[in-house]
């Protein structure tokens, strides 16, 4: 059971940029949350507070009973796994295999368990056959998969993805969706920052839209993603099928292809 509670969070970077300006929200254990919003809205800054990489300038962030201002990042790492937006900032080992094994080793799992977790992570992300490769020799798209696997192997109750689908082809996006589904099935909390609104609509039940360091919208995906005008304030458009549904005059907010066909089928 891991809940994240954010109370009136402000963050000012050295140099004076006020990236977060009073964010309050709560994410319950097992929730699937998509975070959207304009470039520079503060999405990355927000989630870096969840594992203590950044400290509040004002306000507080709690992960269950842990006050992120008081415990170390290393300690929080057992609860919250964060896949960086830029894989180059995350990867530092000589081989993919070492990279994936690094986290579990630090968390003090029994060797058999650690091994099983690594194997599962490599399988889910389909990089098992590249375990001996140096991450730097892989293409940026595969590096992203390595970054993902190295967090999955830590088996944390909360997993955060920062722009996981950028540059990925459909097969790869489907793979990421499978990872999200697998985590959901295990009851884990998944928080995903994404500009890929279609992906967001298809995979996340709750959506939070940030704008200029504040929460603009927060609620069920169908509620948030239908509000074209408000979303436009933070440079987000409703998903393709939602727009299509609106243009066709459908009452329900369409999020997936199934939604669309069901609604159209009803009409006929």
């Amino acid at each position: 059971m891991t809940d994240i509670r954010v109370k009136d969070l402000h963050h000012v970077y050295p140099g004076g940029v006020a990236a977060l300006q009073g964010i309050s929200l709560e994410i319950r254990s097992g929730e699937q949350v998509g975070i959207v919003g304009q470039n520079g809205a503060g999405k990355t800054t927000l989630v870096k507070h969840f594992n203590g990489l950044l400290q509040p300038t004002r306000g507080e962030v709690w992960v269950d009973e842990l006050d992120t201002r008081k415990v170390s990042v290393a300690k929080l790492a057992a609860r919250v796994g964060y896949v960086f937006q830029n894989p180059d900032e995350q990867l530092f080992c000589k081989t993919v295999g070492e990279e994936v094994a690094f986290g579990p080793r630090n968390l003090g799992f029994a060797p058999e368990k650690a091994e099983a977790l690594c194997k599962e992570a490599l399988e889910l992300t389909e990089i098992g056959d590249r375990a001996g490769a140096n991450p730097y020799d892989l293409s940026p798209t595969w590096r992203k998969m390595v970054a993902l696997a190295s967090i999955l192997s830590m088996d944390t109750p909360v997993v955060i993805f920062d722009e996981p689908t950028t540059g990925q082809d459909p097969a790869s996006v489907a793979r990421i969706a499978r990872v999200v589904a697998a985590l959901r099935a295990k009851g884990k909390t998944v928080i995903t920052i994404t500009h890929d609104i279609d992906f967001c609509a298809e995979n996340f039940a709750r959506v939070i839209a940030l704008s200029q360091g504040r929460v603009l919208l927060d609620g069920p995906a169908a509620e948030v993603l239908g509000q074209a005008e408000t979303l436009a304030q933070t440079y987000v458009e409703p998903p393709q099928l939602t727009r299509l549904g609106q243009r066709l005059g459908l009452k329900r907010t369409i999020l997936t292809q199934e939604d669309l066909l069901a609604e159209l089928g009803k009409k006929q």
Partner: protein, 283 residues
């Protein structure tokens, strides 16, 4: 007159087992906006490197065939001359900062300094560029202390400001917010309208369909289809081969099977086409 002309180009990276590009024939006319699509590993970035001269000047390995940009064979000129004719914005937005500059403004001016642009003109061009790329408020910031999308805008602006004849953009909107993405497409379309030639790798087919003049589909180092966006993006071959298609196309294909899309009608690639098609089906 083609400004870019690739004839039977094959390229293989050093130490790799198979060619990244194989027998590519591609001509691009002046002022054309060509989008390149394809799955991961198709050779999209390699094509970008080839047109902008990084292959063969920076990446060694074997380049066969001829690559002519602006009437000059890339092999015959220096890399600096190549990038002047065909400027490249790289796929990875995070490592394009020169490291020699203190502010975003200086960073964008860096390329112009290297081209010897006079100071007054340089200032004016950088200011205009900052405005157009939506980063005027970042002018005084350190190019390192930016969000992902902001870094990508700086990287794009740094190349655009140099005004090359051909713009080669490798997934230039991968970190950008949705409306920002559409604006960038709009801006590039406008530049193409003024005679600039654009070769742009993109996964976001909705905007490719709406803005590009021509789509080139690349797979396994080969061009497997090219033509008008609505033709290429509805080609059944693409669906079989792991190409990204718009949700409109996918939904209409499923609807066709369910009898909810008019039989015989071309699948839609844009919102407008989808709306028309579904309305026709309902009527």
């Amino acid at each position: 007159m083609s400004i870019v002309e690739l004839r039977n180009v094959t390229y293989q990276y050093p130490f790799s087992e198979r060619p990244a590009l194989e027998g590519i024939d591609l001509r691009i006319d002046e002022g054309e906006f060509v989008a390149v699509i394809g799955p991961n590993g198709a050779g999209k970035s390699s094509l970008c490197y080839t047109v902008s001269g990084f292959i063969p000047h920076f990446f060694k390995g074997e380049l066969q065939g001829s690559v002519v940009v602006g009437g000059v064979e890339t092999r015959q000129s220096t890399l600096a001359e190549c990038v002047r004719r065909a400027g490249l914005a790289f796929q990875n937005p995070f490592n394009q900062i020169s490291g020699a500059k203190y502010t975003v403004f200086e960073e964008i001016a860096f390329g112009l300094e290297n081209l010897g642009v006079p100071r007054e003109e340089m200032r004016a061009r950088v200011e205009r560029m900052l405005e157009r790329a939506g980063i005027a408020d970042l002018a005084g910031r350190s190019p390192y202390a930016l969000s992902g999308g902001q870094q990508q805008r700086v990287a794009l602006a740094s190349i655009l400001v140099m005004e090359p004849q051909v713009l080669v953009l490798d997934e230039p909107t991968s970190q950008m917010d949705p409306i920002g993405t559409r604006e960038v497409f709009g801006m590039i379309k406008e530049l193409a309208g003024r005679g600039l030639t654009v070769l742009m790798v993109e996964h976001k087919v909705e905007w490719v369909a709406a803005f590009a003049d021509r789509v080139v589909a690349l797979d396994g180092g080969h061009v497997i289809a090219q033509g008008r966006p609505e033709e290429v993006l509805t080609d059944p071959l693409l669906a079989e081969r792991n190409f990204g298609l718009s949700r409109y196309t996918l939904a209409a294909r499923a609807a066709l099977q369910a009898g909810l899309w008019p039989a015989g009608r071309r699948l839609p690639v844009t919102l407008e086409e989808a709306v028309e098609g579904f309305k026709a089906a309902a009527a």
